[in-house]
């Protein structure tokens, strides 16, 4: 019975969690790994908690995993740089050359009109790039607050920062996005 409730919750959040992780780490395999880690950690440590707490706890675990990934990348880069072994074309998932193949590899779009499909692809790619270009904390605040629907207090808990910081991150993210996503404006 309880595992059904957890299953229900995970089904509801897994796709958005993957997209959030993708925007955060820009690598499909890494994003899937991070979502799996977050799911398992939630189930192991907080499965017996009140389900109302799960959304915030899950996002907190996922956001921490994304932050940890970036910290590890930073260390790896420092070492690679130190030994001058870094090839500029190395498979750095955060390099500007990363193409969002995920968004272009749409499984069930065969039935759509080609123009609409193209437009949809373009929208998703540009939106993905715009959010991906935000600093990590602004990305997190924006996605948790406006996509996941957490309120300011929950977003602050999930991000491990103050409510004031959440407001600042959200406000800055909105300012940047309204510039870069001008094509979405009416």
């Amino acid at each position: 019975m309880n595992s059904k409730a957890l299953d229900h919750f995970l089904v509801a959040v897994e796709r958005r969690a993957f997209r959030i992780a993708m925007i955060g780490v820009k690598n499909e395999e890494t994003a899937l790994d991070l979502v799996q880690v977050a799911m398992i950690r939630l189930a192991e440590k907080y499965g017996h908690h009140d389900p109302m707490e799960w959304p915030m706890l899950f996002q907190r675990i996922l956001q921490n995993a994304i932050l940890d990934h970036h910290r590890r990348l930073k260390v790896r880069r420092a070492w690679l740089s130190l030994f001058s072994e870094l090839n500029p074309a190395d498979q750095d998932p955060e390099s500007g050359e990363y193409s969002d193949s995920l968004l272009l590899d749409v499984a069930d779009e065969a039935h759509r009109e080609p123009e609409a499909r193209m437009h949809q692809r373009q929208l998703q790619t540009e939106l993905n790039a715009a959010i991906g270009d935000l600093p990590l904390r602004q990305q997190q605040a924006f996605l948790l607050r406006y996509w996941e629907g957490l309120d300011i207090a929950q977003t602050a808990q999930a991000m491990g920062c103050s409510e004031g910081s959440v407001k600042t991150h959200c406000s800055r993210a909105m300012r940047k996005l309204s510039e870069t996503l001008s094509f979405l404006k009416p």
Binding site: K4, M39, W147, L181
Partner: protein, 300 residues
């Protein structure tokens, strides 16, 4: 301007979730199963169980007797944990319902559901028939708090005078009815009260306005509203629901009657054949998640 940008951004992000490649959705499903497996030692079983002694390494009849007592305590604890999870789940959806910007009737009006379906088509990723048929299953298996644990005992700790000031303030509209509530319902409302401060002032006001209306509704309506709301909020963004509701209000009575009749026809057409009723997999593409992901043998 910001609201418009947020809405459009969310819509594109939501669409990007619908189009995930099969390899990703399969990997996510595997990850979910791994998580559920990892949860098994904990779910429904309190930490007490881990501290029980192992009979293989124990000695003496006294210790064996103690272990039996411990097992009984653990089973009781497991049941309480399970109950707590179930109440929490219902509390979560009820809180969203009383804060929602649409009236509860919107989710009980088949005419409005078919109106959304007609206006949004594939984009809504849902249909009135699937919602209604799915709701029947979901109600039976998931959302019937009112029928749960009828024998649960009232505890003095749940009396109105024993509540904290914050709880009493949040639940003020229910004060006169409180003593008539079953213990499970009281616990559900206390969970909502404990998170009341997380709502914005306007949400708090809306929630308090709705509380009496919500508890006055027949249990069957509440169950159906929960089941449909749970599916609709995933399928249709809030802004779209509000827009469609405003449009729906402007329809003539004749047009609304036509929609209600159309809904009844669609529901009848899509009703599973008698031999499919126990196994809705044939309509898995359109059933709401709440109906698909639960197969509990509990009364909700």
């Amino acid at each position: 301007m910001d609201d418009d940008l947020i809405y459009k951004t969310r819509r594109v992000l939501d669409q990007s979730c619908e189009n995930l490649p099969a390899r990703v959705t399969k990997t996510l499903a595997v990850a979910r199963q791994a998580a559920l497996k990892a949860a098994q030692p904990d779910l429904g079983q309190p930490h007490l169980r881990k501290r029980f002694f192992n009979p293989a390494t124990s000695w003496g009849v006294g210790l064996t007797f103690a272990s039996l007592i411990g097992i009984l305590v653990a089973l009781n604890g497991a049941q309480r944990t399970s109950l707590d999870l179930d109440i929490g789940r219902v509390a979560a959806i009820d809180q969203k319902m009383i804060v929602d910007r649409l009236p509860v009737q919107a989710y009980l009006d088949p005419g409005f559901l078919v109106f959304q379906e007609e206006g949004l088509g594939q984009q809504a990723n849902t249909s009135v028939a699937s919602l209604m048929n799915g709701a029947t299953i979901a109600i039976r298996e998931f959302w019937s708090l009112d029928q749960l644990f009828p024998g649960a005992k009232n505890s003095p700790a749940l009396a109105w005078v024993k509540l904290t000031n914050n709880q009493r303030e949040a639940l003020a509209p229910l004060e006169s009815l409180w003593s008539t509530f079953e213990p499970t319902r009281k616990r559900k409302w206390l969970k909502i009260a404990d998170r009341f401060h997380l709502l914005s002032p306007s949400e708090q006001a809306r929630a308090q306005d709705r509380m009496q209306e919500w508890v006055a509704m027949p249990a069957s309506d509440r169950q159906q509203a929960r089941a449909i709301f749970d599916s609709v909020i995933e399928a249709v963004p809030e802004e779209v629901r509000i827009m469609k509701w405003n449009e729906y209000q402007k329809l003539s009575p004749a047009e609304r009657t036509r929609l209600v009749e159309l809904a009844a026809q669609k529901i009848a057409d899509a009703s599973p054949a008698p031999d499919q009723k126990t196994n809705p997999k044939g309509s898995a593409q359109t059933l709401p998640r709440s109906a698909l992901s639960v197969t509990s043998d509990k009364p909700f």
